[in-house]
Structure formats: C-alpha cells, structure tokens
C-alpha cells in the first residue's frame, strides 16, 4: 500500500512538472531511479524508452505504465498512469474556463519562454546518462585502467551509422523510430553486443 502511494505521488509530481511532452518525462524518471534504485536501473530505463517509442500511445503514459508494472504489477501500472495524468486533468479543467485569459497572459508566456530551453537542457542531460551506459563501459575502465576498455567499439559504430541514417540519408530520415529500434536489436544479437 505504501509502495502504491509512493508510486502515485512520484508520477503525480512528474505529470505536474514535466513540460513539453514526450521525452520531457525522461529527466524525472532518471531522478526517480536515483532515489528509488530498487524500482528500476538506468539500463532498464533505456529499455523502457525503446518499448515506449515502439508501441502506440503517448510516450509519457507508456513510460509510466511500464515503470508501474515493473515495480508493482498490473495495479502498479494503473496507479502510475493515473498519477501521471491527474495533474493534467485538474489543470486543464481549470484552464478550460479561462482559456483566452490564459493564452494571452504575459506571465504565462514569459514563464514558458524560460521553460522551453529548460526542457531541452534536462532531456539532453538525461541523454548523456544513456550514452554513458550504452556507448561506454566505465566499470571495465575503472577495473583495468586501459582506455580500450572504456569504449564499446561496436556500439559506437552502430551509433554513428544510426546518426547518419536518421539525419543525413534522405531515404531513411523520415522512417518511423520503430524501424531503427528493431534494426538495432537485430544488430545487437548478430554481433553479440
């Protein structure tokens, strides 16, 4: 019962403070994994992102359901999902009544001028943590002290190829992320990452 309450509260906070949709929930989940290491690890969080991106529905909701289920089963998934959407529902029901004033309010506009770059910075910082576990092996480096253990060469090559395919090649640029995720899974198995 205590776990369910904590889960609800954590995701309520995420829903209340994550601005900008999609990946905006990511920094909050990282913060959560640092404070509740028994819930999920950084590596598991990266897996969750992949699952959320490859299934229908808003990413934030998918991540909430996934974390809740991993932590406390079906009921956990239900609690985290409701926790995430509760602040939205409350805020929107209030804003809907004063829509015009809200949109034209200069303080709201000014606050969002500061919040948008904040969201970008937070997501980028969370991205660095994924890079650290996916492309580098700091544990092996700490043990051996040899630089060749620090870099996961196969992973770095895959990252470079994906970067080119998603940003530079016209034919593949617009493909849905699920193709790249499935492709990367296949490469991971074939070259035993």
């Amino acid at each position: 019962m205590k776990l369910l309450l904590t889960l609800f509260f954590e995701f309520f906070k995420t829903g209340l403070f994550a601005v900008g949709g999609g990946m905006a929930t990511l920094p909050f989940l990282y913060d959560m994994s640092a404070r509740h290491p028994d819930w999920f690890t950084t590596a598991q969080l990266a897996d969750m992102i992949a699952v959320s991106e490859s299934t229908p529905g808003p990413i934030g909701v998918n991540m909430a359901t996934y974390v809740g289920f991993r932590t406390a089963g079906v009921l956990g998934g239900l609690i985290t999902t409701l926790g995430l959407v509760a602040p939205s529902v409350i805020i929107i029901l209030i804003v809907a009544r004063v829509l015009k004033q809200f949109r034209e309010n200069k303080y709201v506009d000014a606050a969002f001028y500061g919040l948008r770059p904040c969201s970008v910075g937070l997501i980028a910082a969370a991205g660095v943590l994924v890079v650290k576990i996916a492309l580098f092996d700091f544990d092996a480096y700490a043990l051996s002290g040899s630089l060749s253990d620090l870099f996961k060469v196969k992973a770095l090559i895959l990252a470079a190829v994906l970067l080119v395919l998603t940003r530079a090649v016209k034919a593949t640029k617009k493909l849905h992320p699920i193709f790249f995720i499935v492709g990367s899974a296949a490469v991971g198995v074939l070259f035993s990452f």
Binding site: G15, F17, A18, V19, G20, G21, G22, A43, A46, A50, E53, T55, P56, G57, P58, I59, G60, V61, T65, Y66, F69, T81, L84, S88, V89, I91, I92, L93, V95, A96, R103, V108, D109, A111, Y113, G114, L115, R116, P117, C118, V120, G121, L122, A125, V130, L135, A155, A159, L163, T166, R167, H176, I178, I181, A185, A186, V187, G188, V189, F191
Partner: protein, 179 residues
C-alpha cells in the same frame, strides 16, 4: 452516450498514435473535427497550443480539453481515460513478456543494441526541440546552465523547472528576451 463516444474516439486516437506529441494531430483531426464535429480545426489548434503550455503529457492535456468542452468535467475525465487506455493494456502485456524473457542472452544483446538506438533518438529529439526553444542568447544561457548542472550534479528536475519559469519572467521584464 456522448461519454461512450468520447472514450471510444480517444481510445482510437491513443491506439493509432505512435510517439505522441505532433504525431497525434492528424488522428485528432479525423476523429474530432471530421467524424464527430466536436471542434473546428482552429479550435483544435488552440487546445493543442494550450496542451503544450500546461504541464503534463500533451496528448492527455488535449484530450482533457476536448472532453471538457464537449461534455463538461466528466467528459474531460472520460476522454483522458480513453486516450491512455490502449497504452495501459499494450504496455502491461509487453512488460509482462519482457520480464519473462530478459534473462536470455540473445534478448540482452538485443537490448544492448536498442540502447544505442535510444541514444540517437534522444539526440535527435533534443536537436528538434532546440530549434524551437532556443532562439536567443538568454534562452541559450538557460539551456546550457540546466544541461551542465543536470549532468554534473544530482539536482531534482523540479528545481530547474521552477527556476527557469522564474528566469523566463525576469528576462522578459528586463527586456533581454529576443536579443
């Protein structure tokens, strides 16, 4: 009856939208504007804009908004439950499957590959957001500050969010915005 229609319409939007955010606009147009006439295209854009300027998942915010306008508070709640329902069912099934397969070595390798892809996906969404969010020096400063502090210190994102909202108001008042 309208509540059932709202739930079904938003469940369809939820199941057909991959990735949320902008991806759901065409689905919303079809369900809300063309099929049910609950809002015009312009109203939809307004709701969507507000959904982006309020905390929380944009898809959920938009659903609550349209539900509320169509059938009052209870409509807002029902539309929200509709849009999250498919995610809840699909993710629960997948999470159950992954949990029971995650000890197989091939599955571990697959996820190690997937993590590399996730890095690239995050990088790409940062670039995309950067283009619309960082348009002047003050915004650049805020973004870099949050990034550096976020990487090197263990600070709750809530602190950054509150700080940057205040900074946005301050910068606007001081007139440094847009320079």
């Amino acid at each position: 009856m309208i509540l059932l229609q709202l739930f079904a319409a938003f469940a369809r939007v939820g199941v057909l939208t991959f990735g949320g955010g902008y991806a759901m606009i065409p689905m919303l147009e079809r369900e809300i504007v063309d099929r049910h006439g609950w809002a015009t295209s312009e109203e939809l854009m307004d709701y969507y804009a507000v959904g982006q300027c309020t905390p929380g998942v944009i898809a959920v915010n938009t659903a609550t908004f349209i539900g509320c306008k169509t059938a009052g508070n209870i409509g807002g709640v029902v539309a929200t439950l509709g849009v999250v329902f498919p995610s809840f069912v699909i993710i629960t099934v997948i999470a159950g499957i992954i949990r029971s397969f995650s000890d197989i070595p091939a599955v571990r390798s697959a996820f190690a590959g997937i993590r590399v892809c996730v890095c690239v996906l995050i990088f790409n969404s940062v670039i995309k957001l950067w283009k619309s969010a960082v348009k002047d020096k003050a915004a650049l400063l805020l973004c870099l500050l949050v990034f550096v502090l976020g990487v090197f210190f263990n600070i709750s994102p809530i602190v950054f969010v509150l700080f940057c909202a205040a900074a946005g108001i301050l910068f606007t008042r001081l007139g440094v915005r847009g320079k």
